[in-house]
Amino acid sequence: MIRSAFVALSLCASPLFAQDDLLKLLGEEETGPTYATASFKSTRVINGHSLENTARGVLDFRISHRFGYVNSGVDGFWGLDDATIRLGLDYGITDRLMIGIGRSSYQKTVDGFTKYKILRQCTSGCSMPITLSFLATSSITTLQTEQLPWYDPTRTDYFTHRMAYTFQVILGRKFNENLSLQLNPGVVHRNLVGRAEEANDVIHISAAGRFKLTKRLALTTEYFYILPDQIDAKYHNSFSVGVDIETGGHVFQLQFTNSTGMFERSFITETEGQWGKGDIRYGFNISRVFTVAKPKKPKE
């Protein structure tokens, strides 16, 4: 009887002593789902698109540069004498939808694209292991008719011959802080091809990866594999290797690639260079972001 009373008293008295961890009394907060961020440091891996989008209200100014072939030796100053440029502007309409335009000096091509994040990889609060995006791009060659590589005075050329479209599904995952991988299966549609044997619709799949070396330095690589018997034998698969350096507002991407152009029709289906022969171009992309539309400030 006295024993039971003693037990009862000690149990009643315990709340008086538990002053530690007051916050535990509140219980766990219900936080919404959190999505994986910064799987890649930029919206492009090297030539191809990454699964990242430009954030809402942000304008990304991109300058991309490709020099000549490294095997041009001292005469071509190992490629530095030669250059093609692409200037582009990307804008994030929402956190999931972005658009962009650009112009390349290579074949004087104007390109535009839109990319939408359909599924987002979730780190907590939901279960989605991958990020899935859809990319649609189009390009127009604005060279004078006589300058076009396929110009033939004996044949009628249509404006639409200058156009090509690319559709890709980007499937990627940030495995951990240091490793992100993605696959981009897609199709490049070219309105005009060289010979009847070549496919107007070129099916391809690319694999790309980012390996973070330090907080601001990452190694990137991408390879575009084209399914056999679709393009002329003089064209090869595009392979690139590069390094991303991030500073306050810029991302500098330095790379080596065998492709010349920086728009999909060119680097996917018209890559002439071969790594084995030293047809490698040094190039860089610079991305500079500007916040154009500030998020709405909540009322105090």
């Binding site: 024993r3 037990v7 009862a8 007051l22 907060e29 998020p295």
Partner: protein, 196 residues
């Protein structure tokens, strides 16, 4: 110490019930805890340099304040800090705070300068808060002055302003951007408590 329930004889049950009832009332009288809590506390930090101004706001800070003992605690989720620039928010989380590894900043300490009885009266009180602040996994003691306001409805508002040095908490700032971030960051805390 076992409660040998089966050995009780029916005639002792009434005494047992009375004593148990009395014991049950004891905690209610002794622990009339004056506890206040909030899940929507606001913490803002400011870094002003000639190169760049950085401001982050977290409006989902959780905090509990026990007026009886003076114990005060709060926790802020790093990913809940919002910035005007999305890239600034990304760098804050990825490169500086490493919020995937250290998701929360916490404070555990004691508030002195106001007693439990004063808390029941309307007024503004100057208080001192002293305790341990843990940011980026590194705990450092901190003391700050603050103001506690009790309004007519018995609601408690607390505000405080103090400085934090990021390097004290193991946050590495590369020399390239060293002049973009102030040596000491000004932190402003505003909490509107409700009785728990």
């Amino acid at each position: 110490m076992r409660i040998a329930c089966t050995r009780y004889k029916p005639k002792n049950m009434n005494t047992l019930k009375t004593i148990s009832l009395a014991l049950a009332l004891v905690p209610a009288m002794l622990s009339a805890q004056e506890r206040f809590a909030t899940r929507t506390g606001h913490i803002a930090f400011f870094s002003e340099t000639s190169m760049e101004n950085i401001e982050g706001n977290n409006r989902k800070v959780t905090s509990v304040f026990d007026a009886t003992t003076g114990a005060i605690e709060f926790a802020a989720l790093i990913k809940a800090f919002e910035f005007e620039k999305a890239l600034m928010q990304e760098h804050f989380n990825e490169n500086y705070m490493e919020s995937n590894t250290f998701p929360k900043a916490t404070f555990k300490g004691k508030l002195t300068g106001v007693g439990e009885d004063e808390m029941k009266k309307e007024g503004n009180y100057t208080v001192t808060v002293a305790g341990d602040l843990t940011i980026h996994g590194v705990t450092k003691p901190i003391t700050a002055k603050g103001t506690l306001t009790v309004d007519a409805a018995g609601q408690v508002k607390a505000t405080s302003e103090f400085l934090v040095n990021p390097e004290d908490h193991g946050i590495k700032i590369p020399s390239v951007v060293r002049s973009n971030i102030a040596e000491s960051i000004k932190v402003i805390v505003k909490l509107d408590y409700a009785k728990m």
